[in-house]
Symmetry: C2
Subunit: 209 residues, 2 copies
DNA sequence: TATAACTAACTTACCAGTCAGTTAGTTGTA
DNA sequence: TACAACTAACTGACTGGTAAGTTAGTTATA
């Protein structure tokens, strides 16, 4: 007697496959991921994947695309909403990022992009355009505003943003690259707070100004 | 009439293979690298590689091992030698790193490690132990010294070092990941200088202290 | 000529992508 | 309501290409 196979809603199939693929790509990278594994994770056969995606690369692009766009709008609205002093917003942004790093696969996605963008430039270009190209100007504007409002001393906003982001990049890579292979745990939120403190001190106008 | 093949000194063969492999791994990653390509680059047949290395992974490890150890002792002696104020040394260290990022494959190696350490934990662990495990304490000691000498305010040295390094990590990844796919050039040395300026301001003792 | 250095050609394993066939469920008709 | 005709969703088994690793034999030099 065969078990009755309950057919699931096919509308959810692409999403189920994307979820399974995200998990697998994060674990084993692009080349190391077998579509059979993705299929097993999603509770399907490999052939079924090809009903929803053209090929392995399309699936990969779908995974990246979705993971990126999911994380994006939140920051933008967050910044747009705030009107008070920039010095208050900066720590909040860093803490927000820390939360994303600790609680979502954002950092794993970034790692994946870093790892595979040489082989698949479209992936890297997409990330460059959609994440970096949108995020950096936003933060640069924020720094510039702080300078104009007299909260910060005169610094190069573009460079400053990179100093701001660098620490969080390091935190994200620490979590996804080194912790899984035995490195001691890094408290990302604590680091975000500490980094915010450093940055605010770094940007304080000169005492004699 | 065949051209006379002048046989080269076999003692140099492992190094030649390592060089060829480094170039190839940097270009195409671990999985994407064919030993036939490495062989052609080194002016040999694939089979000859197996006379000097056990397998592809050993070769990869050899490449990483060599590239890492080459870059390490310099920093250590540099720090050990210096006895003056830490505030002078900090910018020099960042500039040194910037030089390495711009002029050596160090950043590409780091990228490779990031990309492949999930699949080959030994690689990541080696890097963790030999580079991070030696570099971080060195820098932490430096910050701690600056605090003790009254040059810096009281901050957590471990966290501070991560803020210090983060920006250079970002710079290195920018160069190796995003510039090759069309991102605008980043002046790593200028960024090192700017970051040093920020960090020194961030560490300045409170005005009323 | 002995042997170290080397190679061409091969074997093996793997996996993306395909396809003929199956099963679960729906629709049309009486 | 019954059941035949149909379709969407899916699968197992296969193919073709690729590349790691091996081996039997060749070439250069002491």
């Amino acid at each position: 007697m065969k078990p009755v196979k309950q057919r699931r809603a096919p509308a959810e199939r692409p999403q189920e496959i994307l979820n399974a693929a995200l998990a697998q790509f994060v674990e084993t990278g692009f080349a190391g991921t077998r579509l059979d594994d993705v299929a097993r994770r999603a509770g399907l056969s490999k052939a079924a994947i090809y009903l929803y995606f053209d090929d392995k690369l399309s699936l990969f692009q779908g995974v990246i695309r979705q993971a990126i766009t999911a994380n994006l709008m939140t920051v933008e609205t967050m910044l747009a909403a705030h009107r008070g002093p920039v010095a208050e917003l900066l720590p909040r942004i860093l803490e927000f990022m820390a939360g994303r790093i600790e609680d979502t696969p954002m950092a794993s996605i970034a790692k994946l992009v870093i790892a595979e963008s040489r082989a698949f430039p479209e992936i890297g270009q997409f990330y460059l355009k959609e994440v970096i190209g949108r995020g950096l100007p936003l933060l640069e504007g924020l720094i510039a505003r702080g300078i104009k409002q007299g909260e910060f001393r005169k610094v190069d906003p573009a460079m400053t943003v990179r100093s701001l982001i660098g620490a969080m990049l390091l935190a994200g890579l620490w979590r996804t690259v080194f912790e899984p292979i035995g490195a001691e745990k890094l408290d990302v939120r604590a680091m975000a707070r500490h980094h915010a403190d450093l940055m605010l001190h770094a940007l304080r106008p000169a005492p004699g100004a």
